[in-house]
C-alpha cells in the first residue's frame, strides 16, 4: 500500500510538472463554457448570417446536447492523447527498470497508473459538467431531463474503458503510437458494429454517442443496459489482461 501511494504521488507530480493537468483543465473549462453559449447563440448567429431557418427556441437540452457532442468527441480525443503515454513512455524510456528492481510489484504500477488517470479523467469530466450546468442555469430552467445519472455516468464509463485500452496498448507495444492505434482500431471496429442496428445495444460506443436519447428518454433505458454491462466487463478484463501480460513481459 505504501508503495502504491508513493508511485501514485509520482504519477500525480508527473501530470502536474509536464503540464498535462493544466491542459486537461483548460480544455475542459473551455468546453464547459462553450456548450451553453453555443446552444444559446447558434440561432442568432445563423440569423445574423442572413439565413432564415426558423429554428426552435433553444433550451437546456440543447446545451446538454452540445456537452455530449463536445466531450464525446473532442474531449475524448484530448483525453486519449494526454494519456496515450501512460504505460508506453516509461517502457520505451526504461524508467521503470530502476523502480521494478527496487521490488515494486508490477501490478502496483498498472493499478496506480489506472487510479491516477481515472482520478484526473473524473475530475476533468466533473469540472466540465459543473461549468456547463452552472451556465445552463444562467440561461434556462432545467427541464425535460430523464435518466440523469445514467446519461452522465455512461460517458464517464466509456472514458475509463479508453484509459484501460491505452494501458493495454502500452504494455503490448511499448510505445504510445501503439496505444493510440489500439484505441483507434477499437473505435473503428465499434463504428463498424454501429452500422448494424440490431447490434447497437451491445456496442459500448453508444455510451458516448447516444447519450441524448437516454437523457430525453426517446429510447428505452433497456436499450443501453447491455452496452453498459459490456463496457464494465471490458474495462475490468482489459485491466486484468494488462496486469497478466505485464507480469510476463521481459523489460
Amino acid at each position: 500500500m505504501k508503495a502504491f501511494v508513493a508511485f501514485s504521488k509520482k504519477e500525480f507530480i508527473e501530470y502536474l510538472r509536464t503540464y498535462k493537468i493544466m491542459i486537461l483543465g483548460v480544455v475542459f473549462l473551455l468546453f464547459g463554457m462553450m456548450n451553453p453559449v453555443l446552444a444559446k447563440f447558434t440561432p442568432e448567429i445563423i440569423k445574423a448570417a442572413g439565413i432564415d431557418l426558423n429554428l426552435p427556441e433553444p433550451s437546456a437540452l440543447d446545451s446538454w446536447a452540445q456537452f455530449f457532442k463536445n466531450v464525446g468527441q473532442m474531449g475524448m480525443l484530448v483525453m486519449v492523447v494526454i494519456f496515450s503515454g501512460i504505460m508506453a513512455n516509461e517502457l520505451a524510456k526504461g524508467t521503470l527498470i530502476n523502480i521494478l528492481t527496487k521490488g515494486l510489484k508490477r501490478r502496483t504500477v498498472i493499478l496506480s497508473k489506472f487510479f491516477v488517470a481515472s482520478i484526473l479523467w473524473t475530475l476533468s469530466y466533473l469540472f466540465c459538467l459543473l461549468i456547463t450546468y452552472f451556465y445552463t442555469l444562467v440561461f434556462w430552467k432545467m427541464s425535460g431531463m430523464h435518466n440523469v445519472f445514467l446519461s452522465f455516468i455512461s460517458m464517464w464509463l466509456y472514458g475509463e474503458f479508453l484509459i484501460t485500452t491505452l494501458i493495454l496498448g502500452g504494455v503490448l507495444f511499448k510505445n504510445n503510437i501503439g496505444s493510440l492505434l489500439l484505441v483507434g482500431g477499437l473505435t473503428v471496429i465499434m463504428t463498424i458494429i454501429s452500422i448494424f442496428p440490431q447490434l447497437q445495444k451491445y456496442n459500448p460506443m453508444t455510451l458516448s454517442s447516444d447519450n441524448m436519447s437516454m437523457l430525453t428518454a426517446t429510447k428505452e433505458l433497456s436499450a443501453f443496459i447491455p452496452a453498459l454491462i459490456i463496457c464494465c466487463i471490458l474495462t475490468v478484463l482489459l485491466l486484468i489482461g494488462s496486469i497478466i501480460l505485464f507480469d510476463r513481459k521481459q523489460v
Partner: protein
C-alpha cells in the same frame, strides 16, 4: 562465502545464443570486474541476475537464494545501476531517492538520513535542479546513490564508466572504491584500465562463454611472460652490454626510443642472475631492471584468441 553463484546459465534470443553455459562465483566483499566486448553478453547476464529476463537454462543464487523471473525477492539484496540509467526528468534528485525509498518500504527518517548521506557520497548534495538538466556523469552518480539506498549486499553496475569523460570516469571509480566496505561490487566494462585500477577479481566473457576467471594477481601469475628489460644510463653501456660475449646466446631487442634492452628467455631466474653478474663485473650500472608483467590488454587479447 559467495554472494553470487551462477551455474550453467544459458539464454537465447531468437537465433543468437547470448549466454552459453556460463558458470562463475563472486565472493563477498570484492570488486568484481566483468569484462567483455560489446555484445559479449554482459548486460544479458546482469538482467538475468535481476530477474528481468527469463533464463532458458541454469540457475542463479544471490546470497544462497534462488533468483526467479519477474518479482524476485533476491532484488531486495541487490542495487542495480543500468548502463544508461533513466530517471524521471521532472523530479529532483532528493525526490527521486524519496520515491525509491518509499517503494522499498523504508521509513521517513531513514530515507532522509540515507539520502543526505548518499548524495554527499556521490557529490550531489547541493544540486537542487531537476534530473532532466543533469549531465551524463551526474545521472550516473545519482544512479549509484539510488542503487545503494536499500543498503544492498550486492551492487551491480552495468558499464558505469563507458559513456563518461575522463573526469567523470575517475569520479565513478573513486565512488566504487569507497563503497567497497559496505557492499560487493560487480561492474561490467570494456575499458581495461578501469579494471586494473579498482578490481580485485575479474571474469572475461566472450560470445556468452566464460574464458578467464580469477583474481588479477592469479591471472597475471599464470600468464607471466618470460621477458624482462634493462635500461642503462648511457648508450655506450648499452652497446657494450649487447655485444658482450658472455650474453651472446640471449635473444635481445634494443628499444628504439631509450637506452633499454628487452630480453626474452626460457628460464627467467637463471638469465636474470647471469645478466646481473655480467653487469656488476663490467660496472655497467642499470637505471632500471624490470620483469615485464603481462598487461591486462595482452591477457584479454590472448584469451580472445
Amino acid at each position: 562465502m559467495d554472494i553470487l553463484q551462477i551455474h550453467h546459465l544459458s539464454k537465447r534470443f531468437g537465433s543468437t545464443q547470448a549466454i552459453d553455459d556460463l558458470s562463475f562465483n563472486v565472493p563477498e566483499g570484492c570488486i568484481f570486474g566483468f569484462i567483455g566486448q560489446n555484445g559479449a553478453g554482459k548486460t544479458t547476464t546482469m538482467k538475468l541476475v535481476l530477474g528481468l529476463l527469463k533464463a532458458d537454462q541454469g540457475s542463479i543464487l544471490v546470497n544462497s537464494e534462488k533468483v526467479s523471473f519477474g518479482e524476485t525477492k533476491t532484488n531486495q539484496m541487490i542495487g542495480y545501476l543500468p548502463d544508461v540509467p533513466e530517471f524521471y526528468n521532472y523530479l529532483r534528485p532528493k525526490e527521486y531517492l524519496k520515491l525509491c525509498g518509499e517503494i522499498t518500504g523504508l521509513d521517513k527518517v531513514t530515507i532522509e538520513q540515507r539520502s543526505n548521506e548518499l548524495l554527499t557520497l556521490v557529490g550531489l548534495q547541493n544540486v537542487k535542479k531537476k534530473i532532466g538538466a543533469f549531465s551524463r556523469g551526474m545521472k550516473q552518480r545519482l544512479g549509484i546513490a539510488q542503487a545503494l539506498l536499500n543498503e544492498p549486499k550486492l551492487l551491480i553496475c552495468d558499464e558505469p564508466t563507458s559513456a563518461l569523460d575522463p573526469i567523470g570516469r575517475k569520479e565513478i571509480l573513486d565512488i566504487l572504491q569507497r563503497v567497497k566496505d559496505r557492499t560487493t561490487v560487480i561492474f561490467s566494462t570494456h575499458i581495461l584500465s578501469d579494471v586494473e585500477r579498482i578490481c580485485d577479481r575479474v571474469a572475461v566473457i566472450n560470445q556468452g562463454k566464460l574464458i578467464l576467471n580469477g583474481t588479477l594477481a592469479e591471472i597475471k601469475a599464470k600468464h607471466k611472460s618470460n621477458t624482462f628489460s634493462v635500461e642503462f644510463s648511457s648508450s655506450d653501456d648499452k652497446t657494450a652490454f649487447m655485444s658482450s660475449p658472455d650474453l651472446k646466446q640471449l635473444s635481445m631487442n634494443q628499444h628504439e626510443s631509450n637506452l633499454g634492452v628487452t630480453i626474452h628467455c626460457d628460464d627467467i631466474d637463471k638469465t636474470e642472475a647471469l645478466c646481473m653478474e655480467v653487469m656488476v663485473r663490467n660496472n655497467w650500472m642499470p637505471t632500471k631492471f624490470e620483469i615485464n608483467e603481462p598487461t591486462i590488454e595482452s591477457l584479454f587479447l590472448e584469451a580472445l584468441r
